[in-house]
Symmetry: D2
Subunit: 494 residues, 4 copies
């Protein structure tokens, strides 16, 4: 029943103790395929890393909509024939999600569906609105009833209340009121719709499966079913598919795109192409850039698995130091093990990572990880390396210090819990217990993605977590009276 | 997981084959009790016969609302400590329900909850609106989003859209737009509210548990927890409890009550008092009245268990013919047994009822049941009696022929499937295969409840199923364009 | 998951608080029917009252045996097509059981199966061996390995160790070593076998379904599938069915039968015929006999439902006092309701029984129940009657005082917890709080079953619970060193 | 309920389509620790790769044994506090297993427990008897009853039937009759016992956790709880721990050990030390050995993840060709995805592996895997590489051709399904579609483990899968009449 997952808990689990960033969603939609729901299920499985806590699919069979939304992994629900059989039709959209603060409850699981006067409408959302609470308060004051705590529901209400007659116009009416990031897949009984916010903060790509268009978060969701990559959805684009073909709307004033740099550093799968770049190659380039910026006199390069692997390969190749698996990861989850007694807790149980003593003992090692959030994991990893006999531990992080929280769909801790927000590099080194510690520079990540350097006047990406430069207003945060009215129904067991 | 129930399936199962009327709901609410949810759970358990398919409870703990709604029997969910522990607070309301047409899905399970501008609001509804679809269409056209197919949700939207400022005024604003039957229990973060439609069609009583007021459908829900019966909620009354005490509103023009006579015939538990009358005594009186109207020359009086038991006791006492258990009922449910092969089906499996041969063989019997809907059960019962050796079978029904469907919360078949709507008594006798068949007269039921006779000008009860005289307009049914727009989302697996 | 049952818990639940006797098993077997497992499932459903905690079926399909054994009601498991489909074949046996002391664990659920040198062998057992522990100890000392704590497993080992060559001879070899009660259904890959202990203590009947022989505990299991009753299996008879027909073995010296009188008083279903007598008629006769022995000046006769109903009808008919339902039973189980707080516990929650005040208030009542074990239920019932306004409460028990425990398959409390074992009738009356209390005499029950009186020299039934005259040796109990070695594995979670 | 696992299904799933060898068990035991069951659960979690289908733990609390055995992963059951709480005591043993042919049913899940005359006895077994069926037949003929189809149960019966008085003597009596491989952990109410077959075919190590001895299959199960590695249990050693300390028995004539070479190639975790050697280093050495034996002119070395990773690192280091992740593995299981329609099946869905196009396109690649069984996976991997643009694909296998099945606890296909048993290397190359194919030589694996070469007269390891030289008799296989009597009970749903 519990959702077994790859990113597992332990003394080293970065997810559970907040020492890891979490993407909040992945989306997938297909138009005109006889097995629309089955294809969507496979696509969501490939996007599982973008959201492990719940998944949903909505389909339309020509006369009715069908919906299935469940907590748990995609496979827990959508690998089953009887579930897929209950989702007939040629149009389908799907969604995977993490929970935000508060427990994930079923009514927060997407895609959301609404019965509008014009007919049914379903939507799945990757991203986060920075004026979602403000819009919600306005809507409730006008008599709207909210059933979820998700700001995606706000979009449905805005569409329902638009006075335009054509559906696409109502949809665009709603988008004009939004602020923040959104990559949306939506469907009516006639159309599949994709939309990306004006800056293109979260990714969204267009693919093709034997003539059926697909829109989804990453190209790996195309690969799993052998679909072709066509192009990225552009920033600010609304793309509509129906029986007459496709039509691209550009309802916003044109601005240069500003996608989130974090997709390269951590979120996207290494085999995905994002913005035309191989994520794997970018990560290797971050590693080799790091080797140039912060070399270390060491015997072996050891990745923190699995997040640090591509950067470690890059670091090893650039430095000429051998790449070795000095830490072995137990891929069986182990997240839910209790540690019932004090004596067990004192064992320092290693559910997820184990030192590979034969590689580490007596060696000077360079440990490579992709990012550093709270640092709690790093403390334990370094300690484990020393206990296994490492003579020196040099920690290298293949991204800059994270000093600011995200508001666009990445679940970052409060600012005061971000280690780099309150400590110097030397302080962090002492906390972590490494012999040396270094981060990749901000310009370094720009070089890794192929830019010469960051353009301070007009940054090519949004890198607010490293720089504090947010690409949109933060209305909910800054509005004086925006202290959101606390939702009344906060607890639901089912 | 399976819902074990008392009214079980078999060749004789009147529920599954539609040969039984089904009440659609029971409600319970309590104000100011430290174990509000636990008490509500017990009350719902006592009301289980009013709705076996789903149950829900909402509580408020002083700062938050808590909700649990599940398919299945009350005990399946609410007997468990960890569930009750998740429903803290001093105010709680609960609901049990049958599904109407279409499958029961979780989003239709009550109490419904809405986040209004004024705060949270929860409501449970026993009854049925006769203008629910009409109101729903108007609301959707104005941009309202519906999440259930229940017309109870309409009430929430009407409250949300009222322009009045006081909550009670908004609630009454909404009630004024309703047509049909409703016994409502509702709650906000400050109040418990009870409301009964202007005619008082469905029952609603007020009780007291050591100073905590209770509103609920039947007195048996007071008895289970040792609460005192105070009075019936009056027709057209809106009764509000808060920290200042209680206040009774009478927002409608005063009219005489016209409660549904069927509560006495079938729905209410025999140990309940309805409208000040003992349901058991009324049923016995129907039986003795029937003995006077339609005597039979027989050796034993045999009830169809359990529905015909009180009337059979009354018939036996009035006629002097011995009362005997000629049919034994298997109280283990058996509803879900498959009959996998033709050879098994031909066995005529008797999952629920068995003839008590020792009582029946060689005897002339009077079979007593409380009502006759489609007649399919009666056919099989009579046949079983003959196979067990009964020499004569006289069937007596302790209520009049059902000729018209209900629109006030009782799940009756379409008119053409009501046996009495399309057949004479003699035709019915032939179909059922009895040696004689008789029904209680309409005046007979009025006498059984203590009236002299039915007042045709101003009937003391609503008896539309027997007479076709509906006590309210039937807007959804009669409006020319009322063909409800088919809801777009008809299928949901979870 | 928990087994929902008819005999439910509450302040009045006689099962949970030990104030009720419990039969330990029911058996069913059929030979030569194409739907053997489905028919067996239906038969077990009719026998559900003989064992609610677990059920199992074994079938043989011509080349393999198939087995399914589960905790819970028959319907929970065997109503499902996919389960029945996994039990193919023309021979099947089944079993329902209560647990004895200690939790029911799956490995104790019958039928038991063994892989003998001669092939597979399965057996289901109703009854209890009085030398089971003694035999077990001998077998373990010889190197046998026991997997259950059931003494039925002993029978399998005895068959396995017999040195005879024919299977039936091995089986009879084993039976000769047994002491106590047993009604067995067994099967090999060729035969269906029924066996009843030399005294015929537990019931076992032979039926016929269109040429397929059936052996089962009660005739109600024949009725449910429309099978014909042929005869009772005789005491000491071993009856074998195979492709050549049937053969009756009588391996024991002939003695008169001595069936357990308790089947009439409580265990068997009222619609069953036991030993050629209608259980319903016997119970009514016990009631009328009781009316003659112990009349009461009262206004109404009230049964304790459902156990006292037939006796109450008999009492009412014999006494001329009207029969009324003064106690209403909630047939929804309610067994698992927690009573979370002291304040709830003090409510004296009435989950199972409620007074029907309209019948009781202001009346002198005769309460009829079938037996009295610990008396805890009776105390509460009498109190409830008085709270509902009864002016006098006369308690009448339609069987004699239970003074001795059973060792033949009925789960009786320790002797010191049997109220009648340690108190006079007057003391019991005071404890129960009744105005008068009376039991049926021992001769009274013999008269109710049609005997003139008990034959003290050669009792026609075993009535040891009332008289302390046990019909067999009690080896386990009396052997000096019989203190059974405590089994080593006492706890298993699954 | 479903067992989420790391070795997942897909078109490339080597487990499901039999293209992967499967170890059948892992064992763990601890003596004298207050949290014996919790420690055992963690140890089993570390051994999960040795058996994913079921897990069990038995503990002894000073007076009783406690047992829990379940299908599914260790975490599914034993991560839960309430389960661990039901396994109190200071001694515990545990077991993980794969099923062999036929479904895994609960009664086959270990540890097995028996109630012997001397008291309780539990045992867990890693390995396989080559005379198990022969012994089983003899035992059944003597009246023993078998409840499982596992040959481990045979050991219990042999212990039960020994005529010796001391428990250890009975245990050794039983071992003398066994043939084949066994690493056993066993326990009584006083002792923890470890035993390894005379050749030491399967691994077994001794560890120490703060004074509490541990015996387990691999050192990684010591690492997870921070226990110290003490030594390997010797071949033919029986090691007993009780309150008096430990005692090592050597009941067999001394012979040199002959452990199974496959533990290095595939089964053991890379961070384990087996026979004093680092598994990771051995695998790397196999890769570098392979680079020397079979070089390739290529641009990148690509491992088949995760099995080929260490050998690929070794190959890359030895050859100087860069190591790159050319195949990305989806660690979310995906095993249970149905492929409902022909059109979906034709997509060639890539649930588990995806080509990392950026690395592969336009490159000559050396693919490294650890072994080749049926070759079905390799066909698909090569095809995927070509579709991703690889210009040449050179396949290198870091072990010799598997030509013979195993009988010692590894689940190998029938000989005719082993690709290398029936094809030349060139034929295999053509089937797989590679540009070149090469295997490591037999002497090459000996060199990788540090031997100069295989000693043909007295091989230092058992390598029968590559050479056909079996280290023990194969009684069940060779005995003329050994065709095992088919067990009668072959199907059990639960």
């Amino acid at each position: 029943m519990t959702a077994p997952t790859e990113r597992a808990f332990s003394v080293f689990d970065p997810t559970l103790d907040g020492d890891r960033l979490r993407e909040e969603c992945g989306v997938f939609g297909i138009y005109g395929h006889r097995d629309a729901a089955a294809v969507t299920a496979l696509g969501l499985h490939a996007l599982q890393h973008r959201g492990e806590e719940a998944a949903g699919i909505v389909s339309f069979d020509g006369s009715r909509f069908h919906s299935e939304r469940r907590l748990g992994l995609v496979e827990d629900t959508f690998s089953k024939r009887h579930i897929i059989d209950q989702l007939p039709g040629h149009i389908a959209i799907g969604h995977v999600r993490y929970s935000t603060t508060g427990g994930t409850v079923l009514r927060n699981v997407q895609p959301f569906f609404a019965e509008l006067a014009a007919g049914g409408f379903a939507v799945g959302h990757n991203g986060n609105l920075t004026n979602g609470l403000t819009l919600r308060r306005q809507l409730v004051d006008e008599g709207a009833m909210m059933h979820s705590t998700s700001d995606t529901e706000v979009i449905l209400h805005l569409v329902a209340r638009s006075r335009r007659s054509r559906f696409v116009d109502r949809f665009i009416d709603a988008l004009r009121l939004l602020e923040g990031s959104y990559s949306l897949v939506a469907m009516t009984n006639k159309k599949l719709i994709a939309a990306r916010d004006p800056l293109g903060i979260r990714p969204l790509v267009l693919g093709d499966l034997d003539g059926s268009p697909i829109v989804t978060s990453e190209t790996c969701a195309l690969d799993i079913i052998g679909a072709k990559y066509v192009r990225d959805i552009e920033n600010g684009e609304v793309l509509v598919f129906d029986e007459h073909g496709s039509y691209s709307h550009k309802p916003f004033p044109p601005v240069p795109p500003r996608p989130c740099i974090f997709e390269y550093i951590y979120f996207s799968r290494p085999d995905s192409m994002v913005g035309g770049r191989s994520v794997y190659e970018v990560r290797k380039a971050m590693g080799s850039q790091l080797a140039h910026e912060s070399p270390a006199a060491a015997d072996v390069v050891v990745p923190v698995p699995d997040s640090g692997v591509p950067a470690a390969i890059g670091y090893a190749q650039a430095s000429g130091i051998p790449y070795e698996l000095g830490i072995i990861r137990n891929h069986y989850v182990g997240r839910t093990f209790i540690q019932p007694t004090q004596s067990i807790r004192e064992l320092g149980v290693r559910l997820k990572h184990n030192a590979n003593r034969a590689v580490v003992a007596g060696k000077r090692i360079v440990l490579i990880d992709d990012s550093l959030v709270r640092g709690t994991t790093s403390v334990k990893i370094v300690q484990m390396m020393r206990e296994a006999g490492a003579t020196e531990v040099h920690f290298r992080i293949a991204s800059p210090p994270i000093t600011h929280p995200d508001y666009y769909g990445i679940d970052t801790p409060e600012r005061e819990k971000l280690l780099a927000a309150t400590h110097t590099v030397e302080e962090m080194r002492q906390i972590i217990g490494a012999d040396s510690l270094a981060f990749l520079s901000v310009d370094g990540i720009y070089r890794a993605v192929g830019e010469e350097r960051r353009d301070p006047a007009r940054p090519q990406f949004t890198d607010h977590c490293f720089t504090g430069e947010y690409p949109t207003p933060l209305t909910d945060k800054t509005t004086a009276d925006a202290a959101p009215r606390r939702p009344a129904l906060l607890a639901e067991a089912s």
